[in-house]
Symmetry: C2
Subunit: 224 residues, 2 copies
């Protein structure tokens, strides 16, 4: 019986996700769903990205969190609109919550929508929220075994941002292990090695992003 | 209807947890439930702890993971028994899974049971698994806002291990912020600042642990 309920909930989620996806496609909006562990640097990545893109594009950010508005407050200081989605204890965003948030928005004034998911490598990878593509953010101090341990996210993501690359000299982290595990799951996936602290590598990420915004139909779709 | 099902599942979980708690109390076993983000260093902390305690105490480790046996393999190299609990995609351990694992074990040969939960700050804090106490592990590179963002874990934990303290010089991390947030939620909670890499601070953690093992009835109980 529980299994049936879970299936029904997932079906309802997928229906909402499809509605979101269709609406975003009609408006030619690129929507990226950022997923990572807590503290990998999703908000810092968005801050860096916004500062480089907000002159050319109209950006909207949805911030997922279980209890605070801290991340949306950080984003708004970079002069783009941000909406906090509070999951009230749930460990992931779902499409229903995202859909309701988007109903409040005039989507004609948006070119790119970033959705920062709740910090968690597991359930956010399970719930389609109508995104164009998933971006997996991984940070060096988390260790080089995360691709192996959380395969679904890294299989379904359209790119990986490897953040905090400036900490490489201070931790045991074998980059080649991450690349080997990643290429088994997702052979063509681009990886951007960056540091939000020093700015290293951000340009390549921005170039990739710019290409996706200009041709949103070209962005890889999540494998559902 | 979904809410009723969730309540029923939680009630069933709590019943299993109570059975586990009673069994462990009868055998005078201290059981610590280690909870953290992915990559905060729970397994490294256990490796360090085992190396220091295995001559005096009989240790058993249960390792939670969604997909791999990697962590149990690491623990077994330190010459103590370890059982891998695979959650098959679920983002937390539950008491039913733990109960079944313990049925395979002769608990007369155990003094301390460490349970490493799935790497996730949210749902593992919601599910009682019959532990004596919860240990929250937080690592410096995750950032100083985690107590604020994940209050349930830090409210219910009996101690905090602040790991990767050797990385303090290389990241923006205000320790005083963490202590301020923590003391609002959980005023008396002990905090152990450690580095599993350099060994710094491990002795204080071991001293605390030793005291809890000798008087398991003194270990703070989780606030259910």
């Amino acid at each position: 019986m529980e299994l049936k309920i879970v299936r029904r909930l997932m079906k309802a989620n997928d229906d909402w996700a499809q509605r979101i996806r269709q609406k975003l496609a009609e408006k030619n909006i690129l929507c990226l769903n950022l997923i990572s562990s807590p503290g990998s640097g999703k908000t810092s990545l968005l801050e860096q990205t916004i500062d480089r893109l907000r002159e050319q594009y109209r950006i909207l950010v949805l911030e997922g969190d279980i209890a605070t508005t801290r991340d949306a407050d950080r984003i708004q200081q970079h002069h783009v609109p941000a909406i906090q989605l509070l999951t009230e204890g749930s460990c992931h965003l779902d499409a229903n919550l995202v859909h309701h948030a988007l109903e409040e928005i005039n989507l004609n004034s948006v070119d790119i929508l970033f959705i920062e998911n709740v910090g968690n490598l597991i359930c956010p990878a399970e719930f389609d929220i109508g995104e164009t593509a998933k971006v997996a953010v991984l940070s060096v101090p988390e260790g080089d075994d995360k691709v192996l341990k959380y395969p679904k996210l890294f299989r379904d993501a359209s790119c990986v941002v490897l953040n905090k690359i400036d900490l490489l000299p201070y931790v045991n982290f074998h980059k080649e292990q991450v690349y080997a595990d990643l290429h088994k799951l997702n052979p063509q996936i681009p990886v951007f090695e960056i540091s939000c602290k020093t700015g290293q590598g951000i340009d390549s990420w921005i170039t990739w992003l710019d290409k996706q915004i200009k041709n949103p139909q070209l962005a890889p779709r999540p494998k559902l």
